[in-house]
């Protein structure tokens, strides 16, 4: 590539990565923007495929700043867009910059003087009986199928979890002509209000998201979709064939209920994508409250690895607007902007912080995890049950809180997802067994390649 080494490589084309690219391109830096998806936007604005026409796509007011940013990204002829491309590893190179190993539409090495990791987050997978049945999906899966592929994930959807985002998804599903059987919150309304209360005054200074939630609630009421509070899902059950989801069991007010459905989507919060920063050697900390690992950074978004920056949900889950601001700060910082140029972004960040705090408090899944049974699989890739994991934790208790030791004993986290689905659950279980905080547990050691790639994508230019 003629422009290699780039001044800047940005991994992740969501709100943070795009906002950073605006700043680095404006400063005249050669910039590569890389994403696994074929088009920029991130998961929040996951675009329909090229060739599809979708009237009024993502036309809601809340999405307007994100759409404007996306239009600017797509019109930017100076930006080097590398879509459909995974980044499998990042290393310091001899020139004082970095080497990225790419696979997919573009493969091989890319060099850059500075790198921003803005890979966002994913829905926290929550283990409970029946959760490996086809038809049990993450809320994000249902939402991206709708936004991008224009497909309803099933005939009849049940949403369950502690995160209010599921109200917005239910509204989108109904608006697209889908049938939502119910939205189930384990919290009561009073518990949600109590959690929100300390943050409410500050959050009302940026009322957009609260109005969006209220609008979603009203739309669901008009559509006759029950929003049930104090409803704890206990089990996902198979249909008559035994080969797919047939319904959801939940307990409300001490009474067991059953809802028939062919798709159930979990919505308990989000885990930062942390594999690339960890592989690159950046320091992380437990991401409260939902879990996973947030990458630590300074006020200019630089991680503990000099020249390696992080922004958006990679630094802790706080929503798309804050991601955009952090991306802009990171972009300006990579362009060596003066502190004065960052001031207005810092002010905006401070204004949005109370709502992010409110959402974290209201959505906090910790009191509400469904119970995994002994035979429930915690590790979906290697089929490792909760009972097997607990036995390994007990056996290895003398060796301290090391997730990798448990992995080596019972194979949890050793499969194709590399622990993205199970590590957070293992860390919490291990911490609880040893009377520690999750942040005291040593996480899995993350290694190249951080995405499951065929061997021929690696050997051409392996380290």
């Amino acid at each position: 590539m003629r422009t290699d080494p780039f001044d800047v490589a940005i991994v992740g084309a969501g709100p943070a990565g795009q906002a950073a690219a605006r700043a680095t391109v404006a400063a005249g830096l050669t910039t590569a923007l890389i994403d696994e998806q074929p088009r920029p936007g991130g998961q929040i604005l996951r675009q329909p495929p090229v060739g599809f026409g979708v009237a009024g796509w993502m036309s809601g007011r809340a999405y307007r700043p994100l759409r404007q940013l996306l239009a600017a990204t797509e019109d930017d002829t100076a930006l080097h867009w590398l879509g459909g491309t995974s980044v499998a590893g990042i290393w310091a190179d001899r020139a004082g910059g970095f080497r990225l190993h790419l696979a997919g539409a573009r493969s091989g090495s890319l060099h850059a003087r500075r790198v921003l990791i803005a890979t966002g987050c994913y829905d926290m997978p929550v283990a409970l009986p029946g959760w490996t049945l086809p038809g049990v999906i993450s809320a994000g899966a249902a939402q991206t199928l709708l936004k991008s592929q224009q497909i309803l994930a099933g005939q009849r959807l049940v949403l369950f979890g502690s995160h209010p985002l599921q109200l917005v998804l239910a509204q989108q599903f109904v608006a697209a002509g889908g049938d939502v059987a119910a939205v189930l919150f384990p919290q009561t309304r009073a518990q949600m209000l109590r959690a929100a209360w300390p943050h409410l005054a500050g959050a009302l200074r940026t009322p957009g998201p609260l109005l969006a939630a209220a609008g979603a609630l009203a739309a669901l009421r008009r559509a006759g979709v029950p929003v049930i509070h104090g409803a704890a899902v206990t089990r996902l059950t198979a249909d008559d064939s035994g080969a797919a989801l047939g319904g959801v069991d939940y307990v409300a007010g001490g009474v067991e209920h059953h809802l028939a459905c062919d798709v159930a989507a979990q919505c308990f919060g989000f885990v930062p994508q942390s594999d690339l920063p960890r592989q690159a050697g950046a320091r992380v900390a437990w991401s409260a409250p939902a879990g996973g690992w947030a990458t630590l950074c300074d006020a200019r978004m630089q991680s503990s690895v000099p020249g390696l920056y992080v922004a958006g949900e990679t630094t802790g889950v706080a929503g798309a607007e804050i991601a955009m601001i952090e991306g802009a700060i990171a972009g300006l910082a990579m362009a060596d902007a003066a502190e004065d140029d960052l001031r207005r972004f810092r002010a905006r960040h401070r204004r949005l912080a109370p709502f992010a705090a409110l959402l974290r408090a209201v959505a906090d899944p910790q009191p509400w995890w469904p119970a995994a049974g002994g035979d429930t699989l915690l590790c979906r890739c290697e089929d490792v049950s909760a009972a097997t994991v607990d036995a390994a934790i007990a056996d290895l208790a003398p060796f301290g809180p090391d997730a990798s030791a448990i992995k080596q004993r019972c194979r949890i986290g050793m499969g194709l997802c590399q622990g993205r689905s199970c590590e957070h659950a293992l860390v919490r279980r291990l911490a609880a067994a040893q009377g520690l905080a999750p942040g005291d547990v040593a996480p899995f050691r993350t290694r190249f390649p951080v995405r499951p790639l065929p061997i021929d994508a690696l050997i051409e230019d392996a380290p």
Binding site: G53, L145, L146, Q150, A243
Partner: protein, 105 residues
Amino acid sequence: MTRDPRRHDGVTRPAPLTIVCDGAPLSAYPGETVAAALLAASMRRLRDDRSDRPRGMFCNMGTCSECFVWLREGSAAQWHRRRACLTPVSADLELSTREDTCNAD
């Protein structure tokens, strides 16, 4: 009655093509992912786990690796294992959800 999972109101798509999954032909639109095309055909099972229990797509964003399928382009080509949620459909695409019908790379 089963409703078409694809939205049609206000949505235009390119002309469909035909792919084959486990020997059965099904219609898909260029730009759709393999995972979406199978879901639209009500095929939820994408693989079996070690206890022969069916598994399907979970995250739809390339993170969870639940949606690995075998695929090849043309009956003479080699089978590859790929994430269905990140792989677009194409003409001549053949899929298998059963390991014993193909030699994975």
